[in-house]
Amino acid sequence: MQILIAIIIGAIFACALYMMLRRSIVKLIMGLALLGHAANLLIFSAGGLARARPALVAPGASSPPIPYADPVPQALILTAIVISFGVLAFMMVLVSRAHDAVGTDDIDEFTSTDR
């Protein structure tokens, strides 16, 4: 399983990096979205992969029944997912405005806003 997850994360990273290296700004942003997935999975798998129960405390108990999934990476990723969405929304509007100002989606031509 670890080998499989390593391959998946590596593949998403490769796809994300390739898209970020494109000249189209739309692809750059899609690449960033993919990169977010890959990074989240990286943190997730670094916490140790085990098909366990979620870290939920049953009524009457004081701590979750062992074994339970590590809650710390999950908390981190939850924050990351939400923030990356905020950034994504901001970026998309920014790109749309930049496109209006510059008149192109080719990053190499983003040299001046006075066209």
């Binding site: 692809k27 979620p54 749309s96």
Partner: protein, 804 residues
């Protein structure tokens, strides 16, 4: 305590000095030089206190104070007053007091007079710190402060490009030397196990036998040579003549340029006594002495003439320290004292001439004795000392150094003759300088000057008069200033109690005869100067290979290198930046991963299920589709599918909160992508096939590295103590059954607060971008914007709800 006050008071008064100058200028506008007189009180008070210590320090007592600064690193704010420090501190404060009075007259009416006082006080405090410091790191801090204050002072007239360039040159040359010195001092600290100079002096032999001795000497000496303008670093000193004269008289004749000398003297008991030390100092000193004197012959501006003669004098002192015999060291210290008196005086005379006539070129000055007789007398008194005439301090000091060179046989059989010959040549040329600076302007027929020449005011006369007078007094009454200062200072350098006598008459000696011969030669050269000065212009080619040309070339090269490197690295192409960052990361993360950690262990592999493979296949295929698709819509859908795969992964691996959040966000993202990007042009193929292959290779390398990182990370058992503790405290303390939620809203609530802030800012940004007034020519697209607005704000607000 007083010692700390001596060092700190200059810095404190510097803060208030501009205010003092302004208030006094307003209160008594009739006396523009008043502020100088008032501010001179501080250095004068310091000098008086130091004089009161002369008798006790002269008997070998040392006053020292230590304040812990960074105790963990062995750095103390430590000061001590011994014979060597006392001599230098007295010169700094005593001449400082005269300089403040002089500056008051020289800068009278200048709008930035207060600033000059502040810089001068700043400098004085730094300089006192250097000579009083008893911890090498304290010393270095103040050493650098002198460089900074000298930068400010040389560039005081900052509207002139020449002044700025000279200030920068002095800063770069002395600053680079200072860095080398810091390295040397740190090595010394490593070797000795302490940064305290007094503790180092307790066991000085550790340095000479240590393997690091040679680098230590070279680094420390580099700092001293740059500061004290030794060849080949001498060129910044004449350049520094761009500064107003009070500054040249203070920094560049009597104090700052002597900081290097001070440190050489201070280090002699620790590092001296070896062939390396002797040859370095004697060689550099002798070359500097001759080069300075010869180069002076090409100058016709008063201050530059004096600057080159200062270079020569600094060479003489360094050479004396290098020879290292008791007599030579006594001679060097005596020469330092005599030089401080006459050179400080001569600089102030040169400034007074410039101030009262408006002319600084010696060739155009003549017959001033009629209009400024007092200044002429002062100039002749100081000039006689520079020329080395009987009975002036310059003569006595020169005799002492001559005795030193004549007995320098320790350096080799030819050394006495060579060094003595070089010293006599320099002495003869310095005689010519003295004639040019103090005889030529005042005698002969009077010539018209830009300003009507008249006697300078008291403030401009007092300083040079006192210093020139001292040059005579110490010869006839050596028991008052010369003997009590020179002996104890030389004792510190030599390491045994000395009772030096600054005697005018040593009997008929070889030194006396040689000295007389040098004076006659100098007189001949001065009288016949019309015949041979012209020859100096034939050596203009020297300027092209001189150290200052090397400096200018280096500075230009560094500038060009910076420009070309910036063009290469900061080329404005996002992709190139990304590639640089990626390759660097791949190298510095990937290399240790492969080379140091080794292969991951596969012992704790979790079993593989069919749905794992199915989800992996979904993520993999949809990611590749997002990359390769030529249609925007297809790419967006593929991206959404990949996100869905990730969500399912979270479901399987027991992360329900993540799965819920991810799926909502994924849905919103797809909607957002479609709404916004449908207004943008369709995908085109912009890159060449070659760059696509290159990018693919880089991306695959990056992916492979991240995959390897995951393998590594998952093959080690991670520490679960934090997770366990949080899980156990979740219900009892956080009153929540979902541990992930409790972490977010309770244990790490501040992080979540930050997250909400980021979202709020993003929402604000989106809103203001959409509200931004559009320019008329793109108004046609306004219809598209309406959709974008609704889409942009909605999800951003919605995301806040998701997180809550």
């Amino acid at each position: 305590m007083t010692l700390l006050a001596v060092v700190i008071s200059g810095f404190l008064l510097a803060i208030g000095a501009p205010l003092v100058a302004r208030v006094l200028g307003r209160a008594l506008p009739g006396v523009p030089s008043l502020a100088g007189w008032v501010l001179a009180a501080l250095p004068a008070a310091i000098a008086v206190w130091l004089v009161m210590q002369v008798s006790s320090v002269g008997h070998g007592e040392t006053i020292s104070v230590v304040y812990p600064w960074v105790p963990g690193l062995g750095i103390d704010l430590a000061f001590m007053l011994d014979g060597l420090s006392l001599l230098f501190a007295l010169l700094i404060s005593g001449i400082g007091a005269l300089i403040f009075i002089y500056a008051g007259g020289y800068m009278a009416g200048h709008p930035h007079q207060g600033r000059l006082y502040a810089f001068l006080l700043f400098f004085m405090g730094s300089m006192l710190g250097v000579v009083l410091a008893s911890n090498v790191l304290t010393l270095f801090v103040f050493w650098e402060l002198t460089s900074i204050s000298s930068y400010l002072l040389i560039g005081f007239d900052h509207r002139r490009a020449a002044a700025r360039a000279a200030a920068l040159q002095a800063l770069l040359v002395t600053g680079l030397g200072g860095l080398a010195m810091l390295a040397g001092l740190l090595l010394m600290g490593q070797v000795a196990g302490t940064y305290s100079i007094s503790e180092m002096l307790a066991s000085p032999e550790v340095f000479r036998s240590h393997a690091l001795y040679v680098p230590i000497v070279i680094l420390v000496v580099l700092g001293c040579f740059t500061k004290s303008a030794q060849f080949p670093f001498h060129f910044w000193l004449p350049g520094a003549m761009e500064a107003p004269t009070p500054i040249s008289a203070y920094l560049h004749s009597s104090t700052m340029v002597k900081a290097g000398i001070y440190l050489l003297a201070r280090m002699t008991p620790l590092l001296g006594g070896t062939e390396l030390w002797q040859w370095l100092l004697t060689g550099a000193g002798a070359v500097t002495m001759v080069v300075g004197a010869v180069l002076a012959m090409r100058e016709s501006y008063l201050k530059r003439l004096l600057a080159y003669s200062t270079v020569s004098a600094l060479g003489i002192i360094t050479m004396g320290l290098g020879i290292g015999t008791t007599g030579a060291i006594e001679g060097a210290i005596a020469f330092l004292l005599a030089h401080a008196f006459y050179k400080g005086s001569l600089f102030m005379v040169a400034g007074a001439i410039d101030h009262e006539t408006g002319e600084k070129n010696v060739d155009k000055l003549s017959g001033l004795r009629a209009s400024m007789p007092l200044l002429a007398i002062v100039a002749l008194l100081a000039g006689a000392s520079l020329a080395g005439l009987v009975p002036f301090a310059g003569f006595v000091a020169k005799e002492m150094v001559l005795e030193g060179t004549l007995h320098a046989s320790e350096l080799g059989p030819a050394a006495p003759a060579l060094l003595t010959g070089a010293l006599l040549l320099a002495a003869a040329l310095l005689f010519v300088v003295a004639g040019l600076v103090t005889v030529k302007p005042f005698f002969g027929g009077a010539r018209p000057t830009p300003k009507k020449a008249h006697e300078p005011p008291v403030s401009l006369l007092l300083g040079p008069l006192v210093l020139a007078g001292l040059g005579v007094v110490i010869v006839f009454v050596p028991g008052v200033l010369a003997d009590p200062l020179i002996g104890p200072a030389a004792s510190v350098v030599v390491g045994e109690a000395l009772h030096t006598h600054f005697a005018l008459w040593h009997g008929v000696t070889l030194a006396l005869g040689l000295s007389a011969a040098a004076l006659l030669a100098g007189l001949g050269l001065y009288v016949a100067r019309g015949k041979w000065f012209g020859l100096m212009s034939r050596f203009a080619w020297v300027d092209r290979v001189s150290p200052s040309a090397v400096y200018a070339g280096t500075l230009r090269f560094v500038g060009e290198l910076a420009v070309s490197q910036t063009r290469l690295l900061q080329n404005g192409k996002l992709r190139d930046y990304l590639i640089t960052i990626l390759l660097t990361t791949i190298l510095i993360v990937g290399y240790p991963l492969v080379a140091m950690v080794g292969a991951p262990s596969f012992e704790r592999l979790a079993p593989l299920h069919w749905f794992d493979v199915a989800i992996a296949g979904l993520i993999l295929l949809s990611s590749i589709a997002a990359v390769t698709s030529g249609s925007r819509l297809m790419a967006i859908i593929a991206l959404g599918l990949a996100g869905l795969g990730v969500t399912m992964f979270y479901v399987i691996y027991a992360a329900p909160d993540l799965a819920l959040t991810q799926i909502s966000i994924e849905a919103l993202s797809v909607v957002l992508f479609v709404l916004v990007f449908r207004r943008l042009p369709d995908f085109r193929s912009l890159s060449t096939a070659r760059s696509k292959v290159r990018d693919a290779l880089i991306a695959c390398a990056g992916g492979a590295m991240m995959g390897a990182l995951v393998l590594m990370a998952t093959s080690f058992a991670s520490d679960k103590s934090v997770s366990r503790e949080l899980a156990e405290r979740s219900y009892p303390e956080g009153h929540g059954r979902n541990v992930v939620n409790v972490i977010l809203v309770d244990f790490r609530a501040l992080d979540t607060m930050g997250e909400i802030t980021v979202l709020a800012l993003a929402a604000l940004g989106v809103y203001s971008l959409l509200k931004m007034r559009r320019r008329p020519e793109v108004g046609a697209e306004a219809a598209g914007l309406e959709v974008g607005r609704g889409a942009g704000v909605g999800p951003a607000v919605g995301s806040g709800e998701v997180s809550a």
